[in-house]
Symmetry: C3
């Protein structure tokens, strides 16, 4: 998982490095199209993907606006999975979701490392060594405290939720930062809610409303989603990452 | 093959599910950038890709505007290949192309399945079970009749073909819904044809015309193609999927 | 590596052909989003990726504006790696970088080959045969002279470098055609340089300047790069591939 995109040699190079360290490794891409420098979106995607992979999978994740600065590079273990990534909050949502103990070590940055491509020179070599059988503790010094992800919490005020837009997905569905476990009692199937100035039905799937019509639902990640059937909520609603929106009972 | 795009965790999650069901499975992407909800484009790409894969390959294809509704989810076998996909016409062009017997079963949708992500909760588990050695018949009840793909046929009226635009590819080449087997006698190499209001040469490869100039040819899928050398026919011609266009002898 | 993009069946089909020739082959994508027909960008990406892969890797690279014309299709060996690609300069930068002996043979184009998709009908079959153990010499006749890549050299005139823009990467960082080995003595860390009409600091990593501010640096490929911290130099500077730009000491 990276924000490197697919148009350059960057991702391919990291795979070459991984194969050089561990010729038998099996490589799976989650996504390389995290919005550039969006640690929050990276953290979210990682948290959604990890639990569906077999135990002992190693996740190499690089969304790293602080590359080349003093931010730590780490390897970590949580819930039976291992992770190699910058210490900037990227691990935050998945470690919350997995719960349990988290162990982390700090990776050394070699003198020869590029100031702009630790994916190639720091992270991929560490992930390759883990894949080849190296223990977490052999990669570096224990780290006790990790950087936390900054996130504006959803807020319930009597009859209205104030929530943040996380991001829009490929279809233009808008993922809102409110989990089902928090909001389940507030939202009822087929009930109507005021979203900004509009009134929208809460549903179960896209097919329940007419084409081009909006609906609210719990998405496949169990977050609140604002969607448009066979259309783009991102375009229709004009909301972008970080926007705050108010939803109230009608 | 999906219309899920590559910017979210969706495709990665499906791969995680596949690996969990069958750790040895080998995963190949055809494309995840089918136009959102375009069953026709998905059906075309699938039909072009399948015959180039080794027998016994399993194709997991999800372009599914009806996800969460009563449309069936199916697994099927045709021409030695197996398929897991929604019953919405997506299998249509490839089953025509493969010919022979088609067997299909209906997949159960678990209570716990998300209303918006059957790729993760219905299709990937079924494909994973097939890959792990499960028989088609063990996945569900036999289905006799599949949904057909709606498609507007090409029409020859004396000296003019009226044909539909299927879609434009990555280069902007416009693929038209007329197969070589139907139109071969009409189009002659180096002859000229009136396309809309313009006159275009019928050729064999892009290098035959000057840069920026249009040509007609049988493309690598043996469909009629309107192309611009080192340019985009989609931009130059302004045609979009479903447009009808008339081509006549000069 | 191709310029085929990821929205069509083209790349998937080539993988199917490779698997049909060699069922055990391991497939790694470098990129399929080279700018359409940009042999120079393809040559650059290939040259950056190759040295990070294990010896004996086979590289299948198709950026081929001359597909279907008389340009040769070749297979080659250099520095322990093998390559299958069109003879149009695509191999130029990597063979320079690898140095040493270069052997090449010319691939036959079968009568049945599509005039627009040699990736499927010529290049993938040859790469598949190499992967399956076929010797380079068994693929075709020896070729002595390869086509050279056209490239405008950087030029130092007393106190000013005149350099070409190679391309912008996914982040909008502008890669300039000046290698560190040539320009190292001219550029000093933390010194300031006039780029066009603006003054820009030469740095080591993005974090050294404020958000939205430009800097010059040696990028991870050891080429000169014009970047904007957490922004796009491509958008800010409005430079495109082939533009010439002058950089002088302040």
């Amino acid at each position: 998982l990276t924000d490197f995109g697919l148009s350059d040699h960057y991702v391919g190079v990291m795979k070459g490095v991984l194969l050089t360290h561990c010729p038998e490794v099996r490589l799976i891409d989650i996504t390389h199209q995290i919005q550039p420098q969006s640690v929050l979106q990276g953290a979210f995607c990682l948290s959604q993907a990890v639990p569906h992979f077999p135990p002992s999978t190693i996740f190499l994740a690089v969304v790293d606006p602080g590359v080349g600065t003093l931010r730590k590079a780490i390897a970590a273990e949580a819930g039976g999975y291992r992770f190699v990534l910058p210490d900037n909050g990227l691990l935050g949502m998945v470690s919350e979701r997995l719960g349990g103990e988290l162990r982390a070590v700090s990776l050394a940055v070699p003198e020869s490392a590029s100031g702009t491509f630790h994916g190639r020179d720091v992270f991929a070599p560490a992930a390759g060594r883990l894949a080849a059988g190296c223990a977490l503790e052999d990669l570096g010094e224990r780290v006790e405290e990790l950087i936390r992800l900054e996130r504006r919490q959803p807020h319930l005020n009597d009859t209205r939720w104030s929530v943040s837009v996380l991001f829009a997905d490929h279809f233009g569905n808008i993922c809102l930062d409110l989990e089902k476990s928090l909001g389940e009692s507030f939202f009822q199937l087929d009930a109507k809610y005021k979203v900004g100035e509009s009134v929208v039905t809460f549903g179960h799937t896209f097919g329940q409303v007419a084409r081009g019509e909006s609906l609210l639902l719990w998405n496949s990640s169990n977050y609140l989603e604002l969607a448009v059937r066979e259309g783009s909520a991102e375009k229709l609603w004009g909301l972008s990452s970080g926007s705050r929106i108010v939803i109230e009972k009608v």
